[in-house]
Subunit: 214 residues, 2 copies
């Protein structure tokens, strides 16, 4: 990988990566001043991996977690970011667009690096390993932390219910028992503060909680 | 580090980190649309560490390089970003402000994590190890790449000379021979394209190059 042509491709990949700084997410940064972009979001997840390393299952390879988090959103350069509570048809279209993006973007790197980075991305997507499950847990937890800092953030903006969020918490528990527990407590606080609706509207017949908390 | 109080401090650190998204750097992102912030810059360096890993000296611990790059700019939450070509008095004041910031910010984490992250930051600053020297090389190279993409960027904005940039290239060569060579070629191209002034003004008596290139 030390050849001049390889370096040229590696630099092209680095420049391509820069475009992730222009992909806006639904979440706002903690001071509420603007939407977060996917590049700084990826960095924030890497910070979380370091800070919360003690909450990963024993034997987790933290370096692979961080590498996965650094590259996991690069497909959004082509596919854009989709809100986690989008409907299932939109989520399926997004998954397809992201695979196509992965085919293009990671192949900018010379082989065997391209294959290695693509494998990292596939690992994150398919949640095959404890590293991927921990990384995914952080990716779910981070927007919840931002919502708590911004008066409910995307939860309030989209009228999200506690039960919708609890359905996603399974993914956090799957990656880290203690962070899953932390997320459940946070959701209870969010309901109490009025950041999350306690249940789905009655007409959907899926109410799981009592009357709206103060 | 699994206790409730530890987790509470780790989350506080993660939320504190969010503020780095609001620290503006001199460089513009590659499409020229706005200034880069220090959080997305840190992510971009982590991408570079992965993409350019083959240019690190043999035996380099890449995981430590990435961890160092993820935390290296967090001190700017308090100290702000300073242009690399600021005068030496400003650079000394900045170094002091960054140490004070490191004392405060990394201590948000519980021990022994706080000490470990602080040690990573000190390692980056003092360039004691090959990991730190490689990380610093990437930190120097990245704004040069952005300047090349933005019509000269901060070089043109501040009338920087090739010789000033070449003085900083020593730091790149010190971390990676091949990236140092790449940087020198890039500087020659920048002079040829008029992005860098070929030499200091005559009154400073430090001219090193011929007439301005086309």
């Amino acid at each position: 990988m030390g050849s001049e042509e390889s370096l040229e491709r590696q630099i092209r990949f680095v420049l391509e990566a820069d475009r992730l700084k222009t992909v806006a997410r639904q979440s706002r940064i903690a001071d509420g001043s603007r939407h977060e972009n996917s590049a700084e979001h990826s960095w924030h997840l890497a910070v979380m991996a370091l800070a919360l390393a003690g909450h990963a299952p024993p034997g987790t390879d933290l370096a692979r977690v961080v590498a996965m988090l650094v590259v996991h959103d690069m497909v959004e350069i082509d596919a854009g970011d989709l809100f986690v509570y989008a409907d299932s048809a939109a989520l399926a279209r997004q998954a397809e667009a992201e695979r196509t993006a992965a085919d293009r973007i990671f192949a900018i790197l010379p082989d065997p690096q391209a294959a290695a980075v693509r494998a990292l991305w596939d690992e994150f997507e398919t949640r095959r390993t404890r590293e991927a499950r921990f990384a995914r847990a952080l990716d779910r937890l981070q927007p919840m932390l931002l919502n708590m800092q911004t008066g409910g953030g995307t939860w309030v903006a989209h009228g999200v219910t506690a039960e919708q969020v609890l359905a996603k918490v399974a993914l956090i528990e799957d990656g880290s028992v203690s962070l899953g527990r932390y997320a459940r407590t946070m959701i209870a606080t969010a309901v109490a503060q009025g950041f999350l609706r306690p249940a789905a509207p009655p007409e959907r017949g899926t109410a799981v909680a009592g009357p709206p908390a103060g």
